[in-house]
Amino acid sequence: MLISDLFEETYFAISANKIRSSLTILGIVIGIGSVIAMISIGQGAAGSIESRIQSMGSNLITVMPGSQRSFSQISSGRGSAQTLTIEDAEIIAQEIPNIQAVAPELSQRYQVVVKGQNTNTRIIGTVSTYPSVKNIEIALGSFISDQNVRSNSKVAVLGPTTRDDLFGENTVPIGQTIRINGINFKVIGITQSKGGTGFGNQDDMIFVPITTAQRFLAGVDYVSTISVQAESSQAMASVQSGITNLLLRLHNIGDPQMADFSILSQQDILESASSITDTMTILLAAIAGISLIVGGIGIMNMMMTTVTERTREIGLRKAIGAKRLDISLQFLAEAVMLTFLGGAMGILLGSGLAFVISFFTGLAVKISLFSIILAFSVSAGIGIGFG
Protein backbone atom coordinates (compact mmCIF):
# COMPACT_ATOMS: atom_id res chain seq x y z
CA MET A 1 0.00 0.00 0.00
CA LEU A 2 1.40 3.36 -0.99
CA ILE A 3 1.36 6.42 1.23
CA SER A 4 -1.00 8.26 -1.10
CA ASP A 5 -3.36 5.28 -1.02
CA LEU A 6 -3.20 5.33 2.73
CA PHE A 7 -4.24 8.97 2.80
CA GLU A 8 -6.99 8.34 0.33
CA GLU A 9 -8.31 5.42 2.36
CA THR A 10 -8.16 7.53 5.50
CA TYR A 11 -10.00 10.34 3.83
CA PHE A 12 -12.75 7.99 2.67
CA ALA A 13 -13.01 6.30 6.06
CA ILE A 14 -13.31 9.63 7.89
CA SER A 15 -15.77 11.13 5.48
CA ALA A 16 -17.84 7.94 5.52
CA ASN A 17 -18.42 8.39 9.26
CA LYS A 18 -18.97 12.10 9.42
CA ILE A 19 -20.88 12.28 12.70
CA ARG A 20 -18.55 10.04 14.61
CA SER A 21 -15.49 11.77 13.19
CA SER A 22 -16.81 15.20 13.96
CA LEU A 23 -17.67 14.22 17.55
CA THR A 24 -14.17 12.89 18.04
CA ILE A 25 -12.74 16.06 16.59
CA LEU A 26 -15.02 18.13 18.81
CA GLY A 27 -13.64 16.38 21.90
CA ILE A 28 -10.10 17.21 20.88
CA VAL A 29 -11.04 20.74 19.88
CA ILE A 30 -12.49 21.43 23.31
CA GLY A 31 -9.57 19.84 25.11
CA ILE A 32 -6.93 21.79 23.24
CA GLY A 33 -8.99 24.94 23.04
CA SER A 34 -9.48 25.07 26.78
CA VAL A 35 -5.81 24.48 27.51
CA ILE A 36 -4.79 27.30 25.23
CA ALA A 37 -7.49 29.66 26.43
CA MET A 38 -6.76 29.00 30.10
CA ILE A 39 -3.02 29.38 29.80
CA SER A 40 -3.48 32.52 27.75
CA ILE A 41 -5.80 34.00 30.34
CA GLY A 42 -3.46 33.04 33.16
CA GLN A 43 -0.48 34.64 31.51
CA GLY A 44 -2.54 37.65 30.54
CA ALA A 45 -3.63 38.10 34.14
CA ALA A 46 -0.02 37.82 35.27
CA GLY A 47 0.90 40.52 32.79
CA SER A 48 -1.86 42.83 33.90
CA ILE A 49 -0.99 42.43 37.57
CA GLU A 50 2.62 43.23 36.73
CA SER A 51 1.66 46.36 34.86
CA ARG A 52 -0.65 47.40 37.71
CA ILE A 53 2.30 47.17 40.07
CA GLN A 54 4.45 49.12 37.61
CA SER A 55 1.77 51.83 37.57
CA MET A 56 2.42 52.54 41.23
CA GLY A 57 5.64 54.07 39.98
CA SER A 58 8.59 52.53 38.30
CA ASN A 59 11.86 51.62 39.98
CA LEU A 60 10.33 52.50 43.30
CA ILE A 61 12.01 51.94 46.65
CA THR A 62 9.93 52.57 49.74
CA VAL A 63 11.58 53.39 53.06
CA MET A 64 9.28 52.69 55.99
CA PRO A 65 9.86 53.16 59.68
CA GLY A 66 10.75 49.98 61.51
CA SER A 67 9.77 48.95 64.97
CA GLN A 68 10.70 51.21 67.82
CA ARG A 69 13.09 49.83 70.39
CA SER A 70 14.44 53.00 71.85
CA PHE A 71 13.42 52.63 75.49
CA SER A 72 13.26 48.90 76.06
CA GLN A 73 13.57 45.66 74.21
CA ILE A 74 9.80 45.62 73.70
CA SER A 75 9.08 45.95 70.03
CA SER A 76 5.97 47.92 69.29
CA GLY A 77 5.61 46.57 65.80
CA ARG A 78 6.82 47.37 62.39
CA GLY A 79 5.83 50.82 61.12
CA SER A 80 5.25 52.20 64.59
CA ALA A 81 8.57 53.98 64.82
CA GLN A 82 8.57 57.69 64.30
CA THR A 83 12.16 57.99 63.23
CA LEU A 84 11.96 59.07 59.60
CA THR A 85 11.94 62.79 58.97
CA ILE A 86 11.84 65.21 56.08
CA GLU A 87 15.52 65.81 56.70
CA ASP A 88 16.24 62.12 56.11
CA ALA A 89 14.52 62.42 52.75
CA GLU A 90 16.50 65.54 51.85
CA ILE A 91 19.82 63.93 52.78
CA ILE A 92 18.96 60.81 50.76
CA ALA A 93 18.24 63.00 47.75
CA GLN A 94 21.55 64.80 48.17
CA GLU A 95 23.91 61.95 48.98
CA ILE A 96 22.78 58.84 47.16
CA PRO A 97 23.71 58.68 43.46
CA ASN A 98 21.42 57.41 40.68
CA ILE A 99 18.27 58.78 42.28
CA GLN A 100 15.57 60.33 40.16
CA ALA A 101 13.40 61.75 42.90
CA VAL A 102 12.63 61.42 46.61
CA ALA A 103 9.19 62.00 48.08
CA PRO A 104 8.53 61.76 51.80
CA GLU A 105 4.92 61.40 52.81
CA LEU A 106 2.83 61.46 55.93
CA SER A 107 -0.49 59.78 55.55
CA GLN A 108 -3.40 59.55 57.90
CA ARG A 109 -7.17 59.29 57.58
CA TYR A 110 -9.37 62.27 58.43
CA GLN A 111 -12.94 63.31 58.03
CA VAL A 112 -13.32 65.77 55.16
CA VAL A 113 -16.30 68.12 54.94
CA VAL A 114 -17.62 70.27 52.13
CA LYS A 115 -20.95 72.08 52.54
CA GLY A 116 -22.94 69.20 53.95
CA GLN A 117 -21.06 66.49 52.02
CA ASN A 118 -18.48 64.62 53.97
CA THR A 119 -16.25 61.62 53.56
CA ASN A 120 -13.46 59.87 55.33
CA THR A 121 -10.35 59.54 53.25
CA ARG A 122 -6.61 59.26 53.32
CA ILE A 123 -4.78 62.57 53.52
CA ILE A 124 -1.27 62.40 52.19
CA GLY A 125 1.13 65.10 53.16
CA THR A 126 3.88 65.17 50.59
CA VAL A 127 6.16 67.29 48.38
CA SER A 128 6.28 68.40 44.76
CA THR A 129 8.20 65.33 43.52
CA TYR A 130 5.47 62.90 44.59
CA PRO A 131 3.64 62.76 41.22
CA SER A 132 6.77 61.75 39.30
CA VAL A 133 7.70 59.11 41.87
CA LYS A 134 4.24 57.55 42.04
CA ASN A 135 3.30 57.97 38.38
CA ILE A 136 0.49 60.35 39.21
CA GLU A 137 -0.67 62.82 36.62
CA ILE A 138 -2.53 66.06 37.17
CA ALA A 139 -5.84 66.34 35.36
CA LEU A 140 -6.79 69.85 36.39
CA GLY A 141 -4.99 72.70 38.14
CA SER A 142 -1.59 72.01 39.65
CA PHE A 143 0.09 69.80 42.23
CA ILE A 144 1.65 71.00 45.48
CA SER A 145 4.68 73.21 44.77
CA ASP A 146 7.94 73.60 46.69
CA GLN A 147 6.68 77.05 47.65
CA ASN A 148 3.53 75.47 49.20
CA VAL A 149 5.71 73.11 51.22
CA ARG A 150 8.03 75.88 52.42
CA SER A 151 5.19 78.17 53.48
CA ASN A 152 2.92 75.52 55.07
CA SER A 153 0.15 76.49 52.63
CA LYS A 154 -3.31 75.12 53.31
CA VAL A 155 -3.87 73.81 49.80
CA ALA A 156 -5.17 70.42 48.69
CA VAL A 157 -5.08 68.30 45.53
CA LEU A 158 -7.98 65.85 45.29
CA GLY A 159 -8.06 62.39 43.79
CA PRO A 160 -10.87 61.95 41.27
CA THR A 161 -12.90 59.60 43.48
CA THR A 162 -12.67 62.00 46.40
CA ARG A 163 -13.69 64.85 44.13
CA ASP A 164 -16.75 62.80 43.03
CA ASP A 165 -17.65 62.09 46.65
CA LEU A 166 -17.37 65.68 47.79
CA PHE A 167 -18.45 67.79 44.83
CA GLY A 168 -20.16 65.35 42.44
CA GLU A 169 -18.91 63.79 39.28
CA ASN A 170 -17.08 65.81 36.64
CA THR A 171 -17.22 69.05 38.60
CA VAL A 172 -14.32 71.51 38.64
CA PRO A 173 -13.96 72.45 42.32
CA ILE A 174 -10.69 74.34 41.92
CA GLY A 175 -10.64 77.36 44.16
CA GLN A 176 -13.28 75.92 46.47
CA THR A 177 -12.67 75.27 50.13
CA ILE A 178 -12.77 71.93 51.95
CA ARG A 179 -12.50 71.32 55.66
CA ILE A 180 -10.08 68.62 56.75
CA ASN A 181 -10.21 67.89 60.45
CA GLY A 182 -11.77 71.29 61.00
CA ILE A 183 -9.18 73.25 59.03
CA ASN A 184 -9.95 74.98 55.74
CA PHE A 185 -7.95 73.98 52.67
CA LYS A 186 -8.16 75.46 49.20
CA VAL A 187 -8.46 72.99 46.32
CA ILE A 188 -5.77 73.66 43.72
CA GLY A 189 -5.84 70.57 41.56
CA ILE A 190 -7.36 67.20 40.63
CA THR A 191 -5.28 64.15 39.76
CA GLN A 192 -5.82 61.89 36.77
CA SER A 193 -7.64 58.64 37.50
CA LYS A 194 -5.40 55.57 37.73
CA GLY A 195 -8.29 53.14 37.62
CA GLY A 196 -7.57 51.46 40.93
CA THR A 197 -10.38 49.94 42.90
CA GLY A 198 -10.97 48.65 46.38
CA PHE A 199 -8.21 48.39 48.93
CA GLY A 200 -5.47 50.98 48.41
CA ASN A 201 -7.41 52.86 45.79
CA GLN A 202 -5.01 55.42 44.40
CA ASP A 203 -7.86 57.65 43.26
CA ASP A 204 -9.42 58.16 46.69
CA MET A 205 -6.87 60.49 48.28
CA ILE A 206 -6.22 64.11 49.14
CA PHE A 207 -2.73 65.52 48.81
CA VAL A 208 -1.56 68.42 50.99
CA PRO A 209 1.92 69.90 51.60
CA ILE A 210 3.81 67.65 54.02
CA THR A 211 4.72 70.51 56.30
CA THR A 212 1.06 71.48 56.57
CA ALA A 213 0.12 67.91 57.36
CA GLN A 214 2.77 67.69 60.06
CA ARG A 215 2.00 70.97 61.70
CA PHE A 216 -1.76 71.49 61.35
CA LEU A 217 -3.21 68.02 60.96
CA ALA A 218 -1.06 65.49 62.78
CA GLY A 219 1.01 67.75 64.98
CA VAL A 220 4.09 65.57 64.55
CA ASP A 221 7.49 65.97 62.93
CA TYR A 222 8.05 62.54 61.43
CA VAL A 223 7.00 61.09 58.08
CA SER A 224 5.29 57.75 57.48
CA THR A 225 7.22 56.69 54.39
CA ILE A 226 9.85 57.97 52.02
CA SER A 227 9.42 56.91 48.42
CA VAL A 228 12.59 56.91 46.35
CA GLN A 229 12.68 56.51 42.60
CA ALA A 230 15.90 55.09 41.21
CA GLU A 231 17.12 56.17 37.78
CA SER A 232 16.99 52.67 36.38
CA SER A 233 16.12 49.16 37.46
CA GLN A 234 19.85 48.28 37.37
CA ALA A 235 20.55 50.99 39.93
CA MET A 236 17.93 49.77 42.37
CA ALA A 237 20.15 47.41 44.32
CA SER A 238 22.89 49.98 44.82
CA VAL A 239 20.38 52.68 45.75
CA GLN A 240 18.75 50.35 48.24
CA SER A 241 22.02 49.51 49.98
CA GLY A 242 23.10 53.16 49.81
CA ILE A 243 19.95 54.28 51.60
CA THR A 244 20.34 51.54 54.20
CA ASN A 245 23.91 52.56 55.03
CA LEU A 246 23.07 56.25 55.03
CA LEU A 247 20.10 55.90 57.35
CA LEU A 248 22.01 53.61 59.73
CA ARG A 249 24.67 56.31 59.97
CA LEU A 250 22.17 59.16 60.33
CA HIS A 251 20.28 57.34 63.05
CA ASN A 252 23.48 56.24 64.82
CA ILE A 253 22.69 52.56 64.59
CA GLY A 254 25.68 50.18 64.47
CA ASP A 255 23.90 46.88 64.08
CA PRO A 256 21.85 46.57 60.87
CA GLN A 257 19.63 44.09 62.73
CA MET A 258 18.55 46.91 65.00
CA ALA A 259 17.58 49.24 62.14
CA ASP A 260 14.58 51.42 62.92
CA PHE A 261 13.44 51.42 59.33
CA SER A 262 12.81 48.90 56.60
CA ILE A 263 13.24 49.18 52.88
CA LEU A 264 10.92 47.56 50.38
CA SER A 265 11.81 47.66 46.74
CA GLN A 266 9.29 47.28 43.98
CA GLN A 267 11.32 44.35 42.72
CA ASP A 268 10.32 42.39 45.82
CA ILE A 269 6.64 43.17 45.32
CA LEU A 270 6.87 42.19 41.68
CA GLU A 271 8.52 38.93 42.57
CA SER A 272 5.91 37.93 45.10
CA ALA A 273 3.11 39.01 42.80
CA SER A 274 4.52 37.03 39.91
CA SER A 275 4.84 33.98 42.11
CA ILE A 276 1.13 34.34 42.84
CA THR A 277 0.22 34.67 39.20
CA ASP A 278 2.48 31.75 38.32
CA THR A 279 0.56 29.63 40.76
CA MET A 280 -2.64 30.84 39.18
CA THR A 281 -1.40 29.94 35.72
CA ILE A 282 -0.42 26.50 36.93
CA LEU A 283 -3.86 26.09 38.48
CA LEU A 284 -5.60 27.06 35.27
CA ALA A 285 -3.30 24.84 33.24
CA ALA A 286 -4.04 21.95 35.59
CA ILE A 287 -7.76 22.40 35.07
CA ALA A 288 -7.23 22.64 31.34
CA GLY A 289 -4.95 19.62 31.49
CA ILE A 290 -7.72 17.61 33.08
CA SER A 291 -10.06 18.60 30.29
CA LEU A 292 -7.36 17.59 27.84
CA ILE A 293 -7.12 14.19 29.49
CA VAL A 294 -10.89 13.88 29.32
CA GLY A 295 -10.68 14.77 25.65
CA GLY A 296 -7.96 12.18 25.24
CA ILE A 297 -10.11 9.52 26.86
CA GLY A 298 -12.82 10.56 24.44
CA ILE A 299 -10.44 9.83 21.59
CA MET A 300 -9.52 6.45 23.07
CA ASN A 301 -13.16 5.60 23.49
CA MET A 302 -13.94 6.62 19.96
CA MET A 303 -11.04 4.59 18.62
CA MET A 304 -12.14 1.56 20.61
CA THR A 305 -15.68 1.74 19.27
CA THR A 306 -14.32 2.30 15.80
CA VAL A 307 -12.26 -0.85 16.01
CA THR A 308 -15.00 -3.02 17.51
CA GLU A 309 -17.64 -1.62 15.22
CA ARG A 310 -15.48 -2.24 12.24
CA THR A 311 -14.32 -5.78 12.95
CA ARG A 312 -16.36 -6.75 9.91
CA GLU A 313 -14.48 -4.27 7.80
CA ILE A 314 -11.19 -5.44 9.24
CA GLY A 315 -12.17 -9.02 8.39
CA LEU A 316 -12.98 -7.96 4.87
CA ARG A 317 -9.74 -6.11 4.44
CA LYS A 318 -7.90 -9.20 5.61
CA ALA A 319 -9.89 -11.35 3.20
CA ILE A 320 -8.94 -9.20 0.25
CA GLY A 321 -5.31 -9.54 1.17
CA ALA A 322 -4.46 -6.59 3.40
CA LYS A 323 -1.64 -7.40 5.78
CA ARG A 324 -1.91 -6.82 9.50
CA LEU A 325 0.48 -3.87 9.13
CA ASP A 326 -1.65 -2.27 6.43
CA ILE A 327 -4.72 -2.37 8.63
CA SER A 328 -2.93 -1.01 11.69
CA LEU A 329 -1.43 1.72 9.54
CA GLN A 330 -4.83 2.68 8.29
CA PHE A 331 -6.29 3.01 11.77
CA LEU A 332 -3.22 4.91 12.88
CA ALA A 333 -3.55 7.26 9.96
CA GLU A 334 -7.19 7.87 10.82
CA ALA A 335 -6.34 8.62 14.43
CA VAL A 336 -3.54 10.94 13.44
CA MET A 337 -5.68 12.78 10.97
CA LEU A 338 -8.49 13.20 13.49
CA THR A 339 -6.20 14.48 16.21
CA PHE A 340 -4.40 16.84 13.89
CA LEU A 341 -7.60 18.25 12.50
CA GLY A 342 -8.95 18.58 16.02
CA GLY A 343 -5.70 20.07 17.21
CA ALA A 344 -5.62 22.71 14.52
CA MET A 345 -9.23 23.64 15.15
CA GLY A 346 -8.62 23.61 18.89
CA ILE A 347 -5.80 26.12 18.52
CA LEU A 348 -8.08 28.39 16.54
CA LEU A 349 -10.91 27.99 19.05
CA GLY A 350 -8.63 28.55 22.03
CA SER A 351 -7.12 31.68 20.53
CA GLY A 352 -10.56 32.90 19.54
CA LEU A 353 -11.88 32.25 23.04
CA ALA A 354 -8.95 34.09 24.56
CA PHE A 355 -9.58 37.08 22.32
CA VAL A 356 -13.28 37.10 23.11
CA ILE A 357 -12.54 37.03 26.84
CA SER A 358 -10.02 39.81 26.56
CA PHE A 359 -12.51 41.78 24.51
CA PHE A 360 -15.32 41.51 27.04
CA THR A 361 -13.40 41.62 30.31
CA GLY A 362 -10.56 43.87 29.26
CA LEU A 363 -8.19 41.29 30.68
CA ALA A 364 -4.97 41.26 28.74
CA VAL A 365 -4.44 37.89 27.09
CA LYS A 366 -1.21 36.39 25.90
CA ILE A 367 -1.27 33.37 23.63
CA SER A 368 1.99 31.60 24.09
CA LEU A 369 3.59 29.26 21.64
CA PHE A 370 4.43 27.03 24.58
CA SER A 371 0.81 26.37 25.42
CA ILE A 372 0.01 25.63 21.80
CA ILE A 373 2.87 23.18 21.47
CA LEU A 374 2.02 21.54 24.80
CA ALA A 375 -1.64 21.06 24.02
CA PHE A 376 -0.99 19.90 20.50
CA SER A 377 1.67 17.39 21.36
CA VAL A 378 -0.44 15.88 24.13
CA SER A 379 -3.38 15.35 21.81
CA ALA A 380 -1.18 14.06 19.02
CA GLY A 381 0.47 11.71 21.49
CA ILE A 382 -2.84 10.34 22.64
CA GLY A 383 -4.09 10.02 19.09
CA ILE A 384 -1.04 8.21 17.84
CA GLY A 385 -0.80 6.06 20.95
CA PHE A 386 -4.32 4.85 20.63
CA GLY A 387 -4.57 4.73 16.86
Binding site: M1, L2, S4, D5, E8, E9, F12, A16, N17, R312, E313, G315, L316, R317, K318, A319, I320, G321, A322, K323, R324, L325, D326
Partner: protein, 231 residues
Protein backbone atom coordinates in the same frame (compact mmCIF):
# COMPACT_ATOMS: atom_id res chain seq x y z
CA UNK B 1 -5.91 -26.73 -9.21
CA UNK B 2 -6.64 -27.28 -5.53
CA UNK B 3 -5.63 -30.33 -3.60
CA UNK B 4 -6.19 -30.98 0.08
CA UNK B 5 -4.66 -34.03 1.69
CA UNK B 6 -5.88 -35.40 4.98
CA UNK B 7 -6.62 -32.03 6.55
CA UNK B 8 -7.52 -31.81 10.24
CA UNK B 9 -8.36 -28.82 12.37
CA UNK B 10 -8.50 -28.83 16.14
CA UNK B 11 -9.71 -25.89 18.19
CA UNK B 12 -8.53 -25.63 21.72
CA UNK B 13 -10.63 -23.74 24.21
CA UNK B 14 -9.30 -24.14 27.72
CA UNK B 15 -8.78 -27.81 28.27
CA UNK B 16 -11.41 -28.87 25.80
CA UNK B 17 -10.20 -29.94 22.37
CA UNK B 18 -12.74 -29.77 19.60
CA UNK B 19 -11.87 -31.69 16.46
CA UNK B 20 -13.72 -29.89 13.71
CA UNK B 21 -12.16 -31.48 10.62
CA UNK B 22 -11.14 -35.12 10.78
CA UNK B 23 -8.97 -35.81 7.79
CA UNK B 24 -10.48 -34.36 4.67
CA UNK B 25 -9.03 -35.00 1.23
CA UNK B 26 -10.24 -33.93 -2.19
CA UNK B 27 -9.07 -32.10 -5.24
CA UNK B 28 -10.71 -29.50 -7.44
CA UNK B 29 -9.53 -28.83 -10.97
CA UNK B 30 -9.49 -25.45 -12.64
CA UNK B 31 -12.84 -24.39 -14.04
CA UNK B 32 -14.95 -26.50 -11.70
CA UNK B 33 -18.07 -25.29 -9.87
CA UNK B 34 -18.15 -27.14 -6.58
CA UNK B 35 -20.63 -26.85 -3.75
CA UNK B 36 -19.53 -27.82 -0.27
CA UNK B 37 -22.67 -28.74 1.56
CA UNK B 38 -23.36 -29.64 5.14
CA UNK B 39 -25.52 -28.74 8.10
CA UNK B 40 -24.35 -26.14 10.54
CA UNK B 41 -21.62 -27.45 12.79
CA UNK B 42 -20.39 -29.83 10.12
CA UNK B 43 -17.10 -27.98 9.72
CA UNK B 44 -17.79 -26.44 6.34
CA UNK B 45 -17.00 -22.91 7.49
CA UNK B 46 -13.71 -24.08 8.96
CA UNK B 47 -12.96 -25.79 5.69
CA UNK B 48 -13.76 -22.60 3.84
CA UNK B 49 -11.41 -20.61 6.06
CA UNK B 50 -8.65 -23.03 5.26
CA UNK B 51 -9.42 -23.09 1.55
CA UNK B 52 -9.52 -19.30 1.61
CA UNK B 53 -6.15 -19.08 3.35
CA UNK B 54 -7.71 -17.27 6.28
CA UNK B 55 -6.53 -20.05 8.55
CA UNK B 56 -4.08 -22.93 8.43
CA UNK B 57 -4.93 -26.59 9.13
CA UNK B 58 -3.65 -28.29 12.27
CA UNK B 59 -2.26 -31.07 10.11
CA UNK B 60 -2.41 -32.14 6.50
CA UNK B 61 -1.40 -30.39 3.33
CA UNK B 62 -3.12 -27.88 1.12
CA UNK B 63 -1.79 -27.27 -2.37
CA UNK B 64 -3.00 -24.17 -4.13
CA UNK B 65 -1.64 -24.26 -7.65
CA UNK B 66 1.67 -26.04 -7.09
CA UNK B 67 2.37 -24.52 -3.75
CA UNK B 68 1.83 -25.99 -0.31
CA UNK B 69 0.20 -23.17 1.62
CA UNK B 70 -0.68 -25.12 4.76
CA UNK B 71 2.20 -23.82 6.85
CA UNK B 72 2.64 -20.23 5.73
CA UNK B 73 2.80 -17.16 7.92
CA UNK B 74 0.02 -14.59 8.22
CA UNK B 75 1.59 -12.13 5.82
CA UNK B 76 2.34 -14.78 3.21
CA UNK B 77 -1.27 -15.96 3.43
CA UNK B 78 -2.44 -12.37 2.97
CA UNK B 79 -0.38 -12.20 -0.20
CA UNK B 80 -1.98 -15.38 -1.54
CA UNK B 81 -5.49 -14.15 -0.68
CA UNK B 82 -4.74 -10.94 -2.50
CA UNK B 83 -3.63 -12.64 -5.71
CA UNK B 84 -5.52 -15.90 -5.95
CA UNK B 85 -8.75 -15.83 -3.96
CA UNK B 86 -11.92 -13.80 -4.22
CA UNK B 87 -14.40 -13.89 -1.32
CA UNK B 88 -18.16 -13.47 -1.33
CA UNK B 89 -19.81 -13.41 2.09
CA UNK B 90 -23.30 -14.07 3.33
CA UNK B 91 -23.59 -10.53 4.74
CA UNK B 92 -21.97 -8.88 1.70
CA UNK B 93 -19.46 -6.96 3.87
CA UNK B 94 -19.46 -3.86 1.75
CA UNK B 95 -18.05 -0.70 3.28
CA UNK B 96 -21.09 1.30 4.38
CA UNK B 97 -21.60 4.91 3.26
CA UNK B 98 -19.06 4.34 0.49
CA UNK B 99 -19.71 4.31 -3.23
CA UNK B 100 -20.10 1.08 -5.19
CA UNK B 101 -17.08 1.87 -7.31
CA UNK B 102 -14.97 2.61 -4.28
CA UNK B 103 -15.92 -0.76 -2.75
CA UNK B 104 -14.79 -2.59 -5.84
CA UNK B 105 -11.58 -0.61 -6.11
CA UNK B 106 -10.54 -1.55 -2.58
CA UNK B 107 -8.75 -4.85 -3.40
CA UNK B 108 -6.90 -3.08 -6.21
CA UNK B 109 -5.60 -0.55 -3.71
CA UNK B 110 -4.27 -3.39 -1.58
CA UNK B 111 -2.72 -4.98 -4.66
CA UNK B 112 -0.90 -1.77 -5.66
CA UNK B 113 -2.60 -1.47 -9.02
CA UNK B 114 -1.81 1.91 -10.50
CA UNK B 115 -4.31 4.64 -9.80
CA UNK B 116 -5.19 5.25 -13.44
CA UNK B 117 -6.13 1.62 -14.13
CA UNK B 118 -8.23 1.02 -11.03
CA UNK B 119 -11.44 2.67 -12.16
CA UNK B 120 -11.36 0.92 -15.50
CA UNK B 121 -10.83 -2.55 -14.03
CA UNK B 122 -13.54 -2.00 -11.42
CA UNK B 123 -16.03 -0.86 -14.05
CA UNK B 124 -15.37 -3.93 -16.18
CA UNK B 125 -15.83 -6.18 -13.22
CA UNK B 126 -19.14 -4.52 -12.27
CA UNK B 127 -20.41 -4.84 -15.82
CA UNK B 128 -19.49 -8.52 -15.78
CA UNK B 129 -21.85 -9.22 -12.88
CA UNK B 130 -24.61 -7.34 -14.66
CA UNK B 131 -24.82 -4.25 -12.50
CA UNK B 132 -26.28 -1.15 -14.10
CA UNK B 133 -23.83 1.68 -14.73
CA UNK B 134 -26.15 4.22 -13.09
CA UNK B 135 -25.57 2.50 -9.74
CA UNK B 136 -21.78 2.87 -9.78
CA UNK B 137 -21.75 6.08 -7.78
CA UNK B 138 -24.52 5.15 -5.37
CA UNK B 139 -23.58 4.53 -1.77
CA UNK B 140 -23.44 0.83 -0.98
CA UNK B 141 -26.12 1.01 1.73
CA UNK B 142 -28.63 2.43 -0.75
CA UNK B 143 -28.64 -0.76 -2.82
CA UNK B 144 -30.95 -3.74 -2.60
CA UNK B 145 -29.64 -7.04 -1.25
CA UNK B 146 -29.22 -8.59 -4.69
CA UNK B 147 -27.36 -5.55 -5.94
CA UNK B 148 -25.12 -5.53 -2.90
CA UNK B 149 -24.21 -9.18 -3.35
CA UNK B 150 -23.39 -8.58 -7.01
CA UNK B 151 -21.17 -5.66 -6.01
CA UNK B 152 -19.49 -8.05 -3.59
CA UNK B 153 -19.00 -10.58 -6.42
CA UNK B 154 -17.56 -7.86 -8.62
CA UNK B 155 -15.19 -7.00 -5.81
CA UNK B 156 -14.18 -10.67 -5.53
CA UNK B 157 -13.51 -10.75 -9.27
CA UNK B 158 -11.58 -7.56 -9.60
CA UNK B 159 -8.16 -9.03 -8.82
CA UNK B 160 -8.73 -11.80 -11.37
CA UNK B 161 -8.38 -14.57 -8.75
CA UNK B 162 -8.04 -18.24 -9.64
CA UNK B 163 -10.76 -19.27 -7.14
CA UNK B 164 -13.93 -17.60 -5.96
CA UNK B 165 -15.08 -18.70 -2.52
CA UNK B 166 -18.70 -17.96 -1.76
CA UNK B 167 -19.87 -18.52 1.80
CA UNK B 168 -23.68 -18.81 1.88
CA UNK B 169 -23.97 -16.05 -0.71
CA UNK B 170 -27.76 -16.31 -0.84
CA UNK B 171 -28.30 -16.60 2.90
CA UNK B 172 -29.51 -13.02 3.26
CA UNK B 173 -31.44 -12.85 0.01
CA UNK B 174 -34.96 -13.82 -1.00
CA UNK B 175 -35.19 -16.79 -3.34
CA UNK B 176 -35.64 -14.70 -6.46
CA UNK B 177 -32.59 -12.48 -6.03
CA UNK B 178 -30.77 -15.52 -4.69
CA UNK B 179 -31.38 -17.25 -7.97
CA UNK B 180 -30.06 -14.22 -9.83
CA UNK B 181 -26.86 -14.33 -7.81
CA UNK B 182 -26.45 -18.07 -8.35
CA UNK B 183 -26.99 -17.59 -12.08
CA UNK B 184 -24.23 -14.98 -11.97
CA UNK B 185 -21.93 -17.63 -10.51
CA UNK B 186 -22.93 -20.06 -13.22
CA UNK B 187 -22.12 -17.47 -15.87
CA UNK B 188 -18.73 -16.83 -14.33
CA UNK B 189 -18.08 -20.57 -14.23
CA UNK B 190 -18.93 -20.84 -17.90
CA UNK B 191 -16.29 -18.18 -18.52
CA UNK B 192 -13.79 -20.58 -16.94
CA UNK B 193 -13.70 -19.38 -13.36
CA UNK B 194 -13.24 -21.88 -10.51
CA UNK B 195 -16.01 -21.42 -7.96
CA UNK B 196 -16.47 -22.99 -4.55
CA UNK B 197 -19.89 -22.46 -3.07
CA UNK B 198 -20.52 -23.17 0.60
CA UNK B 199 -24.10 -23.76 1.64
CA UNK B 200 -26.35 -25.88 3.80
CA UNK B 201 -29.26 -25.92 1.33
CA UNK B 202 -29.53 -28.82 -1.07
CA UNK B 203 -31.32 -26.83 -3.77
CA UNK B 204 -28.63 -24.17 -3.77
CA UNK B 205 -25.91 -26.78 -3.99
CA UNK B 206 -27.70 -28.12 -7.06
CA UNK B 207 -26.61 -25.04 -9.01
CA UNK B 208 -23.04 -26.33 -8.87
CA UNK B 209 -21.70 -29.13 -11.03
CA UNK B 210 -20.30 -31.15 -8.18
CA UNK B 211 -21.42 -31.47 -4.58
CA UNK B 212 -19.18 -32.42 -1.69
CA UNK B 213 -21.24 -33.17 1.41
CA UNK B 214 -19.63 -33.07 4.80
CA UNK B 215 -20.94 -34.01 8.17
CA UNK B 216 -19.15 -33.96 11.52
CA UNK B 217 -15.87 -33.05 9.89
CA UNK B 218 -15.83 -35.85 7.36
CA UNK B 219 -16.78 -36.14 3.72
CA UNK B 220 -19.83 -38.33 3.39
CA UNK B 221 -20.55 -37.85 -0.30
CA UNK B 222 -18.78 -36.45 -3.38
CA UNK B 223 -21.06 -36.57 -6.42
CA UNK B 224 -21.90 -34.78 -9.64
CA UNK B 225 -25.10 -32.79 -9.34
CA UNK B 226 -28.28 -33.17 -11.35
CA UNK B 227 -27.51 -29.84 -12.85
CA UNK B 228 -24.28 -31.06 -14.41
CA UNK B 229 -26.04 -34.15 -15.68
CA UNK B 230 -28.64 -31.92 -17.30
CA UNK B 231 -25.90 -29.93 -19.01
Amino acid sequence: MIEVKNITKVYQSGNVETKVLKGISFSISDGEFVAIMGPSGSGKSTLMHILGCLDVPTSGQYFLGEKDVSQLSDDELADIRKKKIGFVFQSFNLLPRTTVLRNVVLPLVCANVSRSERGEIARKSLTKVGLDETLFHHLSNQLSGGEMQRVAIARALVNNPSIILADEPTGNLDSKTGELVLKTFQNLNQQGRTIILITHEKYIAEYAKRIISIKDGEIIEDVLSHHSEAV
